[in-house]
């Protein structure tokens, strides 16, 4: 692949997971295979710039200043290559805690903890791109729940939704709790191709999510949606049917997990019996709780669909009975009834519909036409 002149050859990824986080997104990313983290770090993906990954969980160093050196250099604006800043965890409100801190990443020269917020203030404007990984960093997430003491928020709430990085990009949000492994690696890969000058600017929606990953709802990709259409709902968690009445918010949540699976196509949420709790959404979690109750909207829509769904289910059941039976010409009798005709003629079976042929067979072999066919 050719590389344009505008492209960069090397990129640092400065990943800070010291937000209000659980490091679950970092852990999740190690599960990715499309591409895998080692594929990118070892430079196996053609066209990508050389990547220097600085992530606490995976870093070779023992920690402390050895680890922080690249972050300090970037903050001084002295890094030799462009960097992508990845923030994991929500951003606390450090205005409300007196002399203390809610979270920190290393220390200031005075020996007191240096807050995440101070780091973001220094690094974000200098970053080629800024990525928020996980629902906490994107929109605040579980730690921004009503009643929380830290007043935390998403990265775009902190930097401003109109923020532009040094590379001219808005904050790139990859929500999920945790982030679906391949969703993140794919987004990162897009950005790296973009940095290399091979990709156009990453397409994002109003919530700053990659459109190709978050453009559809859970329900649109859920293999239990057929039950929904037939008005056939699970009444408890023993059932393999549609879970909207026992807490699933899938119809109104932007997420691709049921369609994509969790990893290598295995796992998921409603497709495998786990109600969607809306963990990729800005309104998560408060607008979805209590999780195990039926969403209010689902009460209306499931009532509406019940009559229609029941009729559809009955009709489909009848058709299913029919298509569960083999055509009558499959038998071991001493005659051929397939309608075989060695040459084209408008009267041959090949020119007649299945139904016409069946009708003729019925007329010639009434004995086999009544009752269930032999299996």
């Amino acid at each position: 692949m050719a590389r344009t002149r505008s492209g960069v050859d090397e990129v640092h990824i400065l990943w800070i997971s010291e937000g209000m986080s659980c490091d679950g997104d970092t852990v999740s990313v190690t599960a990715a295979t499309n591409p895998a983290i080692e594929d990118v770090v070892l430079g196996l993906v053609p066209g990508l710039p050389k990547v220097h990954l600085h992530n606490k969980v995976l870093d070779y160093s023992l920690g402390g200043e050895d680890y922080l050196a690249v972050f300090r250099k970037a903050a001084r604006g002295e890094l030799e290559h462009p960097f992508v800043l990845v923030i994991e965890g929500s951003i606390p409100n450090e205005h409300v805690n007196g002399d203390g801190f809610w979270t920190s990443f290393g220390n200031r020269p005075d020996g007191q903890p240096k807050t995440l917020n101070e780091w973001i203030d220094e690094l974000a404007p200098k970053a080629w791109g800024v990525v928020a990984v996980g629902t906490c960093a994107t929109y605040g997430g579980i730690h921004a729940m009503a009643g929380n003491p830290t007043g935390c928020m998403g990265l775009a709430d902190y930097l401003g939704w109109d923020f532009r990085s040094a590379g001219g990009l808005p904050v790139v949000n990859v929500p999920g709790c945790p982030v679906q492994p391949d969703n993140f690696m794919e987004t990162l890969t897009w950005l790296l191709y973009q940095a290399a000058g091979l990709n156009p600017i990453i397409p994002l929606d109003e919530q700053l999510r990659p459109t190709w990953l978050f453009g559809k709802t859970v329900h649109e990709g859920c293999d239990r949606a057929g039950y929904y259409e037939q008005g056939d709902f699970a009444l408890d968690y023993n059932s393999p049917k549609c879970q909207v009445k026992v807490g699933c918010w899938g119809p109104v949540v932007n997420c691709n997990v049921p369609k994509r699976g969790w990893m290598n196509g295995v796992g998921g949420c409603p497709n495998v019996g786990g109600i969607c709790i809306g963990c990729t959404m800005p309104g998560f979690p408060d607008k979805f709780m209590p999780f195990m109750d039926q969403p209010p909207g689902a009460a209306v829509s499931s009532r509406l669909i019940r009559t229609y769904g029941r009729l559809i289910r009955t009709l489909r059941s009848m058709t299913n009975d029919t298509v569960s039976q083999e055509p009558r010409w499959r038998h071991d009798r001493a005659e051929l009834t397939t309608g075989y005709d060695p040459r084209w003629s408008t009267g041959g079976a090949g020119a007649r519909s299945y139904r016409e042929h069946e009708r003729e067979l019925h007329a010639s072999h009434p004995a086999t036409a009544s009752g269930p066919e032999p299996r």
């Binding site: 999740s28 895998a36 070779y60 023992l62 929380n148 830290t150 945790p178 295995v266 796992g267 786990g274």
Partner: protein, 594 residues
């Protein structure tokens, strides 16, 4: 590790700190004072600089949400929280889960142990033992490793100890990369049972939503068989590397050594016995497939979950919180009529008080100081990273007896069936003569990986039996009572995990999860007792070949990582080469000063 009082030489101490610590989960800082002349760490303080406030924002929420919320406490063992929460809720709501649901949860949790221990051991801890690192810290040791044949080379294929070390070089080494792949395979196994990793989707109070078809178990089994090949070579490979350190560095057994004060809250419920009633908790606790227990100085103090529960105390002393002594008491007594202490998690009120960090004589951590009160002392129990305490308690208790895992009263035997590359193999974990030190915490992790794999085989067989009989019920309906209490006891990957729940007016009135890391990473309590990391690092002899100028602190870091820290918790080497303190007599330091 307290320095003995008496005639001591004058010490020149150097402050060294590592903040944040890498290759762990969460924010953790380790601040030390080191006597380089005598090659000893004299003082250690452990701090965590992250507070999120789960116990605060869960108040007033629907109790059924607790498993979903608490999972988010941790990004590597969140499912342990969901499970523990479900256990606590089952008690509060009066639910006995269907047997198949218990087995599905056990299978999920077994996969979590396999995943988490494997990725932590091979991709995080063993980077401290890899060729590149050893070359930077102990070049002479590496030369010796090059000359030392690996005793089990015939099993794992690495000819010398240095070859083993090379295989753990990050991203380049073969074992490093294979472990990453195995961490994916085992997470797929986990997802088959619990939907997704790390925050489960299919685990509910009352059971699971997992669709119990033959397929889901076959898919798990086929992956488990592949994992067995990896697990079988892992144990001898770990043994070779660890035994080499003992041989090559006489005295290394003192690195990270602390008094044996181990806690294990039990893992893997037995569906035949467990009914989640508090009144019968002693009985079903002892039926768990990892035996709950507290081991003090090599003696098994108790295997009774009720007794364990009653002894829990949450102390302050160096943490950024106001005390709750004057706050309301939620639980006066347990369902058996035993008095519940004001400092018990059921009665805790979390009152965060952010403030400046004071590492000399003030609060310095967001972590509280959980202790276990034995009637006399507030013991600073640790978990040995999880596996050490689990294996130790289970070995001494002599209660676990399955076709694959057996406790002998002195050891645990683990039998793995045949897999593609290896025949049947037996592993036996024995109580280590060296005691609870850095290398034994690390070794135990490898043995617990095979323990979990073997137990998974057992649960799989039982689950498939139920499916063959047509018993595929996985969820039991329930109603949330207006008032109730519950406690969940589980072994998270890193060790003891408890959830204490109080329901009032159908809402969460109080909820306090206590994962293993608060125990391990706790700061000094009100009595001045250091937390386990602090205790294990204080008095640590230094084997690193680098002097103060280029000191990396590898033995300190190996020790901290041997506990498998998971603070959503940090060592910053501040002042680069360390700040030299005035000369002092060692008895003036730390504990003695309090």
């Amino acid at each position: 590790m307290e320095p003995t009082v008496g005639a001591q030489p004058e010490r020149k101490l150097v402050e060294m700190a590592w903040d944040p610590i890498t290759r762990i989960i969460g924010n953790l800082g380790i601040y030390t004072k080191i006597d380089f002349a005598n090659r000893e760490v004299v003082e250690c303080k452990s701090t965590s600089s992250l507070f999120r406030g789960y116990s605060v924002f869960m108040r007033g929420k629907d109790p059924r949400d607790a498993g979903f919320i608490t999972s988010r406490i941790c990004g590597i063992c969140g499912d342990n929280h969901t499970t523990c929460s479900v256990y606590a809720q089952n008690m509060a709501y009066g639910i006995k889960m269907p047997p198949l649901a218990e087995l599905i949860v056990n299978l999920g949790e077994a996969a979590e142990y396999m995943f988490d221990h494997a990725i932590f051991q091979d991709n995080l801890v063993f980077v401290d033992f890899c060729e590149r690192m050893v070359k930077e810290t102990n070049p002479k040791l590496l030369e010796q490793a090059e000359r030392t044949p690996a005793p089990h080379a015939d099993v794992h294929g690495h000819r010398t100890i240095a070859d083993i070390m090379r295989s753990y070089n990050p991203f380049q080494g073969a074992m490093y990369r294979e472990a990453l792949q195995m961490s994916r395979l085992t997470r797929e196994m986990f997802c088959l049972m619990e939907g997704r990793h790390v925050h489960p989707s299919t685990v509910y109070p009352g059971g699971v939503g997992t669709v119990a078809t033959p397929q889901v178990f076959t898919d798990y089994l086929s992956r488990l068989l592949r994992f067995l090949d990896f697990a079988k070579k892992l144990v001898p490979l770990n043994d070779d590397l660890i035994d080499f350190f003992y041989e090559a560095l006489p005295g290394y057994e003192k690195v990270g050594l602390r008094r044996t004060l181990l806690g294990c809250w039990g893992s893997f419920q037995n569906p035949d016995v467990c009914d989640y009633k508090y009144r019968t908790m002693t009985k079903w606790g002892r039926a768990m497939y990892v035996t709950p227990g507290i081991v003090v100085d090599g003696k098994l103090v108790t295997t009774d979950l009720v007794e364990i529960n009653l002894g829990l105390r949450i102390l302050l002393g160096s943490s950024y919180y106001d005390d709750w002594e004057q706050e309301q008491t939620f639980v006066q007594e347990d369902p058996l009529g035993n008095a519940i202490d004001k400092r018990h998690p059921w009665n805790q009120t979390t009152l965060p008080k952010p403030q400046k960090r004071n590492l000399e004589d003030g609060p310095y951590s967001w972590v509280m100081s959980p202790r276990w009160f034995d009637g006399k002392d507030h013991l600073a129990l640790d978990t040995g990273g999880g596996p050490l305490a689990r294996l130790w308690a289970t070995a001494l208790a002599g209660l676990v007896d399955t076709p694959y895992v057996k406790s002998t009263g002195r050891s645990v035997t683990i039998d793995l069936p045949r897999s593609a590359n290896y025949p049947e193999r037996r592993y036996e974990w024995r109580i280590p003569e060296a005691g609870a030190n850095t290398l034994e915490r690390t070794r135990a992790r490898a043995y617990f990986i095979v323990y979990a794999a073997a137990m998974a085989m057992h649960f799989l067989e039982r689950a498939m039996d139920l499916v063959r009989q047509g018993d595929v019920k996985v969820f039991e309906d329930f109603a949330v009572p207006d008032d109730g209490i519950g406690c969940g006891f589980h072994e998270a990957v890193r060790g003891v995990l408890s959830h204490h729940l109080v329901v009032r007016d159908g809402k969460i009135a109080n909820y306090h999860p206590y994962p293993p890391t608060p125990w391990n990473a706790s700061p000094r309590d009100e009595y001045g007792t250091p937390g386990p990391y602090e205790d294990a690092v204080q008095g640590l002899p230094i084997f690193e070949e680098n002097g103060q100028e280029s000191f990396k602190g590898i033995d300190i870091m190996r020790t901290v990582r041997s506990f498998d820290p998971c603070l959503p918790c940090g060592v910053h080497m501040y002042l680069g080469k360390g700040r030299v303190l005035e000369q002092r007599h060692s008895p003036m330091l730390g504990l003695g000063a309090r």
